[in-house]
Symmetry: C2
């Protein structure tokens, strides 16, 4: 009965892209409107974002971050102040040209990111070393006029957080940049059960206007990489462009050093593609809006629904729990639970009640465990922790077994074509080689990992002396 699916979805092996779309739709995460390239986050999808937001925000605040809110529109003149930045973003912004019934004197773009607004604000708000550091963050949506869109991975509007900080010294800015990358990496591992590679982006891949961009890279089930969060050190480039200065203790005017860092609803795409299977979504307990679903068996028999409700009340103290008391069949309910990724299912029927027990079914591995009702809370709490841990280990094992080394061009090409995953390889440091690799194989430079290894002496592409070991991969 449990094998009867709510509605068939495409198998991952057959067509991963279609599987992804099917899961997003059947798990009821997103919806459509008539606004092309934009998506609706439905309750099941938004609730995941709320859990991400709540837990990440708490981690931010532990490091001294304060939340603010800045305007959603940026005057053209502001956007143009930092040369690299405007070149990076101008081609993909939406422009407001009319306000009310009048044409605007200066057009405004809908923020694609808010470095320029924060600089403009800091320029007015910072005067002395006493005003530093500023460690601000905002939760909002941004717009980028993408041509191809896919739910969570690439859409014209997405939800995110963007942290923007200002510091007295270059050292402090670099420290904060790395600190926030570590917050993201820990969050991905501990909350989303997604292991990541931490590293620095190359010159070619860094953020428009940054001195250095750091990234966390995750590997999806199909062997493609997903950039999952970035943290940028701007040095004092933006500060010079916007005149953000402070009077130091010696009364000298100095430029501040800035950073920015962000993660987006793309993380939900990562959760789907790292953990999901042919039965649908698999949510790590820490971000599952419903952690436990109680499914009554033969619910019309006297006492079954009452018992289910009693268990719900007991479990509510240790988990986010619901009872499915609808008139669907148990098999349908099982499949729906699986499709929506609920980590743990509780089955309770007349015979279970007689035996003072119930059956727990893990979504991650399908394991069925019969437990005494006397120890229900303890067992459920314990199992949710185990599932969270096991999901991370499973994802890590997949990532590790799909991370390859290529010591020469033949190995590189063979790997990329036959074994989808990360490829570690040596690189000479030249943008030309990155471009060649991309053109020949479709693999892009994911990052120069913090944990460097020396695989050989020469660049995998040109054969000249190597400078760095790099993670390559085809990516979303």
């Amino acid at each position: 009965m449990a094998d009867k699916k709510v509605e068939a979805i495409t198998s991952m092996e057959e067509d991963f892209a279609q599987w992804y779309t099917d899961v997003v739709v059947k798990a009821d995460l997103t919806g459509y409107t008539s606004v092309k390239g934009f998506m609706v986050l439905k309750p099941a999808g938004y609730a995941i974002w709320e859990l991400i937001q709540k837990q990440l925000d708490a981690r931010f605040k532990e490091t001294g971050v304060e939340n603010v809110y800045l305007p959603m529109l940026i005057p053209e003149g502001l956007l143009q102040k930092e040369k690299d930045h405007v070149e990076g973003f101008a081609p993909e912004v939406a422009w407001v040209t009319h306000g009310g019934l009048n044409e605007l004197q200066e057009k405004l773009c809908v923020r694609p990111t808010s470095e320029t607004l924060f600089c403009d604000f800091y320029q007015k708000d910072i005067t002395s070393y006493r005003d530093l550091p500023k460690v601000y963050n905002q939760w909002c949506s941004v717009v980028r006029w993408e041509k191809e869109t896919r739910p969570f991975l690439r859409s014209r509007e997405f939800l995110w957080q963007e942290g923007h900080t200002a510091h007295a010294t270059a050292e402090e800015a670099e420290e904060r940049t790395i600190q926030m990358l570590n917050v993201y990496a820990d969050f991905c591992e501990q909350i989303l059960a997604i292991p990541v590679v931490k590293g620095q982006k190359t010159e070619k891949e860094k953020f428009a206007g940054a001195v250095a961009t750091y990234t966390i890279e995750a590997l999806m089930h199909d062997g493609k990489a997903l950039q999952s969060g970035t943290s940028h050190n701007f040095g004092d480039g933006f500060a010079q462009a916007f005149g953000v200065q402070y009077a130091d203790k010696d009364n000298q005017l100095k430029y501040v050093h800035q950073t920015s860092w962000g993660v987006t609803t793309r993380l939900i795409g990562a959760i789907i593609m790292v953990h999901g299977d042919d039965n649908g979504l698999k949510l790590p307990p820490m971000v599952a809006p419903t952690q436990v679903m109680i499914v009554p068996i033969q619910q019309k028999k006297e006492g079954v629904l009452d018992k289910a409700e009693e268990l719900r009340e007991r479990l509510a103290k240790v988990a986010r729990v619901k009872v499915d008391a609808t008139d669907k069949s148990p098999g349908f309910k099982f499949a729906e639970c699986e499709m929506r990724g609920v980590p743990l299912r509780v089955e309770i029927g007349p015979r279970d009640i007689e035996n003072n027990q119930c059956v727990l079914v893990r979504r991650d591995n399908g394991e069925k465990i019969t437990v005494s009702l006397d120890e229900l809370e303890t067992k459920v709490e314990e199992l949710l922790k185990t599932i969270q841990k096991d999901m991370l280990e499973t994802a890590r094992a997949h990532r590790d077994s799909h991370t390859y080394e290529a010591r020469n061009w033949e190995e590189f090409v063979d790997t990329i074509n036959n074994r989808p995953g990360f490829i570690k390889a040596m690189w000479c440091g030249e943008t030309e080689c990155e471009e060649n690799i991309k053109a020949e194989t479709g693999a892009s430079t994911r990052c120069m990992p913090f944990e460097q290894e020396k695989l050989s002496d020469v660049c995998v592409c040109c054969g000249k002396p190597a400078k760095k070991m790099v993670y390559f991969g085809r990516a979303y």
Copy 2:
């Protein structure tokens, strides 16, 4: 010492508008950028909004509300589908005409409110009675191209929540409309310590496209009214315009009945203007980001800062508490605490430590209470509750003593000119009289309160038979 102010602000009596602006700036709630008519919510201001959001969202969820996120841009064609609605909003929206490097085929407006988007979404998402009700809400920002702007009260972009529901029957929609108005009213009283009048808007004042608009109206310290939240019943008007239908149990296609309801960052303006005084902001403990500020006296003396930190750790279990250990003078710190509205101040110096005591100072009434350190947590918890309660009672007493009755036109004119506040008066039900009253006195119709009284038989304006008792007032 405590009387030494951080910086002088204009007195309320002298110039209420300037007092308001001074408080907003000196309490560090908002900041400026180069985007005309838009404001920055700084950490002190945004933290109040976070507390409003958290507590209101919890109340929403108790009534079955689910959060979603819809696009920020609305195609012109969608906006135009409901005639009254587009007439109400088209003159004040911002238009996006270009996306990326291209002109758009259809221009998009930045959402001023999202009825049209929800209708478009529901039209696709609702097919059967099983899909009803939909009780969705989103937290986001909206843009309205206001000509005159003031922080929190009127700005071109503001943060809010907008609930949008769809129901099978007219009765259920009306019930939800009133239910959410009651949620708002209770929230204002219990959390913001602001008493409100609940009532229905007149035809002239109702929302563009609504069958009925309900409102909560609050009275500010200067005797002007502030509309603080609204809840609309749309009947099936939008459903007809957008074709939002469901198949009922008898398989008949029927139109859904819809509601929407919202409150905004304007509530922060209400908090300022209801509770504030010439020393600055006064925050009700329930929305105070810092509820208790510990100010060490003679902090350089051995043991004082340690003791302050010890008290902070103890109080952190019952309140949001900080220590001000900066090198400012105690008098400066006291004034700053007052300016920022911190509900309770703890003073602890060498003599207090010797006597195992400290001094608590209430922001709401200035009362100083010496308490034994042994009972600190209990006293602080108790006092915060008392302050919350007393602030509501003070606001209610002010509101009640500034609510007048006018039985004829002379009384009305005399009251509006000499005693700022709410005026209760009888009204014939004609829009013409509302317009005359507005033109002659500047007073607008606030609402037809749920609690009706019969003050006389005739309309205060035209002398014809009266139909309703109405609250009038000059308003923000």
